[in-house]
Each structure stands twice: as structure tokens, then as C-alpha cells.
Amino acid sequence: MENPTDGVTLIVCSGDMDKVMAALNIAIGAAASGKEANMFFTFWGLKAIQKGNLTGNSFFGKMMGIMNRGGIDRIGPSRFNFWGIGRWMFNQMMKMHKITPIAELRQTAIDLGVKLLPCQMSMEVMEIKKEDLIDEAQPSCGVATMLEMAYRSKATLFI
């Protein structure tokens, strides 16, 4: 762990489909070329590693769970989403052009050994529990863990 590597650290702050897709692509590319790839999911990014069930305990938390429901198949593009119509359209176009669906990309990343790390603080704020995240997610962590990975990496990207 202490040895420097030439891997990549991705901080996924966005929960937009396009940005998560780009992040997954980069991680897969790095992992496929034998490099260490770690993805740290913070804030809206958490949606990409949620199972997709409703979340939250408090009133605000539950509202958040409804209006900002997670799940890799629920996240929409940053532009032209139009309450889900845009996402559907994008998915159709991706199918048309034989682009790998985002859920499959995430699975590929997992299969290649990309580590998916959830941010504990964001989980706390948004009332997302460990059980709400996919089983493949690593134990939650914070900034010191993310920084340690970043120091070891040759490239760190904030997405």
C-alpha cells in the first residue's frame, strides 16, 4: 500500500449519467492496462453506487430519498434530462450505437478490480445507509483515505 504506484484516483462528486459514465470509462481503461484505479464517490456521486431503494429517516432525508433517488439506472444526463425523458432517449441512442449500458460498465469496473469507495460524510448528510449501497462498495471512508490514494496515484481527477 505504501509503495507509490502509477494508478488513478477519481473523485466522483457528480451524479449525472454522462459524468459517471466518463469516470467509469477512465477507471476501466486504467484497470484494463494493469493500473490501480480507485473511485471515491461523494455527494451526488453516491447515487451511482446505490442499490436504488428509497432512503432516509427524517422528513428531509425521506424527501431527499424520493426526489434524488439513487441507482445506476436512475441517474440522468446533466443536460436534456427533462424529468427522465432525456435519460430514456440517451439510453435508446446508446443502444442504437451499441454503447455499453452504464450498469454494465460499473460491473466491468468491479470485475477489473476497481475499488468503489463511498464517502461517509455524504452518507451521513443524505441519510444513506451501508445497506442502501451495492454490496461491491468498499467500507465507507473520508478525506484522509481518498488523499492517501491520490498521493499514490499518477493522476487524480475530480468529476
Binding site: M1, E2, C119, Q120, M121, E124, P139, S140, C141, G142, V143, A144, T145, L147, E148, Y151
Partner: protein, 80 residues
């Protein structure tokens, strides 16, 4: 002599969330002599990963870190 007897400073980090536990530990360690031991309790499960990561990057030693229900208790020795 048990490690508990070596504790030079105790920190209560309960209820605090990332990045404050790391900040407070770093600050407290600064004021310790080399070899000094810090004991802390926290409720943020994130410290389970973060304190060892911080220690590795700063060159300090986590003597013990364990979860007791909702509480995380850890001991850090200042090495330099």
C-alpha cells in the same frame, strides 16, 4: 507498562464528521512529544479508514483502532 498508561492526551471526537476528526488528531499530535500516545473516541465510522490512512501519510503509528458498538476507540503514537 500497558499502552493505556502511556496515554499523554485524550480526545473526544464523538459526533464529529469528516474531516474534523483528522484535523483534531493532527493538531493534538503536533503538541505531543515524539513517542507520546493519543487516545480518542469517535462516532464517525469513517475514522476506521481515515485515521490509519492519515497515520500512513504522516508517518505515525496507529497502535489500536477498534469499534465498540457505535463508538470507535483508537490509540495513535507520535513517531516523528
Amino acid at each position: 507498562m500497558s499502552i493505556e498508561n502511556e496515554v499523554t492526551v485524550k480526545l473526544n471526537l464523538e459526533g464529529l464528521l469528516c474531516p474534523i476528526p483528522v484535523v483534531k488528531v493532527a493538531k493534538a499530535i503536533k503538541d505531543l512529544p515524539v513517542g507520546g500516545v493519543l487516545e480518542a473516541t469517535a462516532t464517525d465510522p469513517g475514522v476506521l479508514a481515515d485515521i490509519p490512512a492519515w497515520a500512513r501519510t504522516t508517518g505515525n503509528e496507529v497502535i489500536k483502532i477498534e469499534r465498540e458498538g457505535k463508538l470507535v476507540r483508537f490509540l495513535v503514537r507520535k513517531l516523528k
